[in-house]
């Protein structure tokens, strides 16, 4: 699979300041991601799905939504820690989620980490049934259209989710009704252990877009500038009444599916090592150092600050109690609220 998508016409490429911001964000997300994996190996975090390798696609696309949509809303899936952090979830809040502690803001530790909703900060991740959120995102976009609101809805999904019937139904409906929604596919080549060629008989998920009557592109999702530019074009189209688009990010997953998975049973170490060469963080660091946007000193500061922030978040979450069970029945129905 190869991307060959030059910066689209009409999209201003990201400047040094934005790139540096994106780099700092990526450093933070990586530090957080590495720590929660360690916490799992210490028996403290019950389950972790890493976003390593996906950061450029996640952060680049959110930057595009911020810059090109008057308002936006993200429907995420379990691997989208980068999107959640970009939407404003703090490290401490993320950590409370991984340790299932009191004060976790988006589900009060009723759900897996990063699952729940924060409508104010513009994201939700309701389900572990892969792909189920996609029709809901289309419904969110339908509501925006009916109310004449300028919201662009972005729904993130993996290549595995793309096999679900709900995705077909959703893309079809979104296109029939010309809805302002982006289908953002993070294609890392594996649905847990099943490789792409056993999921689909085509090379790219984006090829399907044409059949629904919407544009579809595949870009290098480890290149933050490319991820940004392709998303920005889709956002502009949706915001201008042009309807839905599919953007497929070609990304790498170099850790197992989750902390509960052993990928050595189905992936060669050579393949994983090859994938690590496309590390989006390393690539951006190299570029920014080469272009002089980032100095080694600044780089060191950013990494130390991220580590410090992660340490503080870890300590705070470890010190927090588990939630009390007194409200275990609350919020089943409207009448059960407090």
């Amino acid at each position: 699979m190869q991307q060959a998508h030059p910066a689209p016409a009409g999209i201003e490429p990201l400047g040094p300041e934005d790139l540096l911001d994106l780099y700092a964000a990526m450093v933070r997300v990586r530090a957080l991601d590495e720590r929660v994996w360690i916490l799992n190996r210490q028996g403290k975090a019950a389950i972790v799905a890493s976003c390593q390798g996906h950061e450029a696609a996640q952060l680049g696309s959110v930057w595009a939504l911020r810059k090109h949509a008057a308002a936006h809303f993200c429907f995420t899936y379990y691997r989208d820690m980068g999107v959640c952090v970009a939407q404003g979830l703090t490290m401490r809040e993320v950590m409370l989620g991984f340790l299932a502690k009191e004060g976790e803001p988006i589900s009060r530790a009723r759900q897996f980490p990063l699952h729940g909703a924060d409508v104010g900060r513009g994201f939700m991740n309701l389900s572990n049934v892969v792909g189920s959120h996609v029709p809901e995102a289309v419904g969110w976009a339908l509501a925006a259209k009916l109310r004449r609101e300028p919201t662009v809805t972005a729904v993130y999904l993996g290549d595995g989710a793309a096999s679900q019937g709900d995705i077909h139904e959703s893309m079809n409906f979104a296109s029939v009704h010309n809805l302002p929604v982006l289908f953002l596919v993070e294609n890392n080549g594996y649905a847990i252990s099943v490789p792409l060629h056993k999921q689909m008989a085509i090379d790219r998920v984006a090829e399907r877009a044409a059949a629904y009557g919407m544009p579809g592109v595949t870009v290098d999702g480890t290149d933050v500038a490319a991820a940004y530019a392709a998303t920005a074009q889709a956002v502009q189209r949706a915001a201008g009444g042009g309807g839905p688009s599919l953007v497929e990010f070609d990304v790498e997953r170099y850790l197992p599916h989750t902390s509960d998975d052993d990928d050595s049973t189905y992936r060669s170490r050579d393949e994983v090592e090859e994938g690590k060469k496309r590390d989006p963080l390393a690539k951006l660091q190299q570029r920014l150092l080469a272009e002089g946007v980032l100095t080694p000193e600044r780089n060191d500061e950013l990494r130390k600050a991220a580590r410090r922030e992660v340490d503080e978040a870890t300590d705070a979450a470890e010190a927090a109690p588990y939630p009390g069970a007194a409200d275990v029945l609350d919020h089943l129905y409207a009448a059960d609220g407090r």
């Binding site: 720590r35 190996r41 210490q42 028996g43 998975d261 109690p321 588990y322 069970a325 007194a326």
Partner: protein, 510 residues
């Protein structure tokens, strides 16, 4: 001092791991979170991170060894600061003897529960629902609501339509089912006739040849002290029916009437008192209930009674009620009261303290085999004590329902004789009117009475001589000193207190 590093619990269903390569040697220094050893489990291969910064002093689990999760794998000499940093979640020093004995299941259960804390926030009153209904004449309304069922209307086709001419021509197929014949005068009920599969489906399963006594009949018989085997049954298979019990009771009605008459004699005496001069005071006529209360209390006053009180920490009680309340009230339509929990604790405790579930019978003490718990209810015209029979067999939920039903019946003056007879012990929720300390009078002829006082927040001294605020409740007991001594009452109170204090938000109530 070195601290033990345990193999952490990793994975949703994994119980042990095989030690791989040690990445750090004895004497080597590691940072917190640095990988120290490779471990393989059924589900994953992983590197175990160092829980502290420090120097590895001993490797306990060797390469190739299978180690249950939670068991020690190494020792580390930690740095002072790191130890302080982690004071909130110390890895407990391992007692090796206990460790060897511990079965993995038990150990994991302990781990899983460590740090769980129950939040005893009381739940607010549920908001009253007010759905306005349009004013309608009630009879007409009822008819209108039921509607008119037109059996002969053309059926809606299987795939829709109907009115508007779009219906399928075959939609009007005649219904094979005959309309019920309404004009016939009541015929003798025909035996159910269906011959095919549905016959089995709707016939009651056979319960064998012996005569069955329904719960209702059994209850009525019990309340009236009737032995069902002595009653002539007229129901199906000579089953004893409710009416059979009443017919049987009719036969022995005379002596009972006489007995009731005698009880009224004190009231007659009162009427013979000389008239007082009119000082403007109001003379309140006695209701039958008031008269009965007066008579009972007079007898109670003659009992040589003594009192005792204990303090109960109601934190768990509040949490338990709060956790179950909404679901219970939604399902049962009855309030889940603290009283129900107290009743449950009392009935259970009485099971192991029969000395208090008793009465003074002159020449001997009579102890009862079952707990028939009287619940004092403030009805409109005075105190009345309906009885929950066999309370020791009922769950908290059942007691809450039973108390609700009895209280409603009491307030509607619909209690029947069986509802107020046969009590063996009385519970009085004096806390309901704010009391925190009562000296109750015994409900004659029972041996004891217990009150539950109001739950109030008070500063209390807890472990470590710390002072904290807890919801506290007093339990007060009065007992017939002829029947037993303070030691038995103390034991009963201690058990009731222990049962209430053992409640948590996850204690089941069914």
């Amino acid at each position: 001092m070195p601290i033990i590093i345990q193999l952490p619990q990793v994975g949703e269903s994994v119980t042990e791991g095989v030690i791989g390569k040690w990445l750090v040697g004895v004497g080597q220094r590691v940072e917190k979170y640095d990988p120290i050893v490779e471990v393989t489990t059924d589900k994953v291969s992983m590197e175990v991170p160092a829980p502290y910064a420090g120097a590895l002093t001993r490797i306990i689990a060797q390469e190739g060894e299978a180690v249950p999760m939670g068991h020690p794998i190494a020792e580390i000499e930690i740095e002072r600061n790191a130890a302080l940093d982690d004071a909130n979640e110390p890895e407990p020093p391992v007692d090796r003897e206990v460790e060897r004995r511990a079965r993995i299941g038990e150990f994991l259960v302990e781990q899983a529960n460590a740090g769980l804390k129950i939040d005893p926030r009381p739940s607010p009153e549920p908001p009253a629902e007010s759905e306005p209904e349009p004013p309608l004449d009630r009879e007409a309304e009822r008819r209108a609501r039921i509607g008119e069922f037109l059996e002969d209307v053309r059926a809606v086709g299987p795939t829709g339509s109907g009115e508007g001419g779009a219906g399928r021509p075959d939609a009007a197929l005649a219904e094979p089912q005959a309309a019920p014949v309404l004009a016939q005068p009541a015929p003798p009920p025909p035996a159910p006739a269906p011959t095919d599969a549905e016959a089995d489906d709707e016939t009651l399963p056979s319960e064998g040849g012996e005569s069955i006594v329904s719960p209702l009949v059994r209850r009525i018989a019990q309340e009236h002290g009737v032995d069902v085997s002595e009653v002539h049954g007229t129901g199906r298979d000579r089953r004893v029916t409710r009416d059979d019990i009443f017919a049987h009771l009719e036969a022995r009605r005379e002596p009972e009437l006489e007995a009731e008459h005698t009880i009224e004699s004190p009231a007659e005496q009162a009427q013979e008192e000389p008239a007082e001069p009119d000082d403007g005071s109001l003379k309140v006529a006695l209701t039958p209930t008031r008269r009965a209360i007066a008579e009972r209390m007079e007898r109670a006053g003659q009992i040589p009674a003594a009192w005792a009180m204990v303090e109960v920490d109601a934190t768990g009680l509040v949490a338990a009620r709060s956790a179950h309340r909404e679901a219970f009230e939604r399902e049962r339509g009855a309030p889940l009261t603290y009283l129900a929990f107290a009743a449950h604790a009392t009935a259970q405790a009485l099971g192991s303290h029969p000395a208090l579930n008793a009465r003074w019978a002159g020449e001997h003490v009579k102890q009862y085999p079952t707990v028939n718990l009287g619940i004092a209810v403030a009805a409109n015209d005075g105190l009345i004590v309906p009885v929950i029979h066999g309370a020791e067999r009922l769950s908290v939920a059942d007691l809450a329902s039973a108390i609700h039903v009895l209280a409603q019946k009491a307030r509607a003056q619909m209690l029947d004789l069986g509802d107020v007879q046969g009590g063996t012990f009385t519970l009085n929720n004096t806390g309901s009117f704010g009391s925190v300390l009562s000296g109750p009078l015994i409900n004659h002829p029972q041996a004891a009475i217990l009150t539950t006082e109001a739950i109030v927040k008070r500063p209390v001294v807890v472990a470590g001589d710390a002072i904290t605020v807890r919801p506290m409740m007093n339990l007060c007991a009065a007992f017939d000193h002829r029947v037993c001594d303070g030691v038995e009452v103390g034991a009963l109170l201690a058990e009731v207190k222990a049962r209430i204090e053992a409640l948590t938000a996850v204690t089941p109530i069914r």
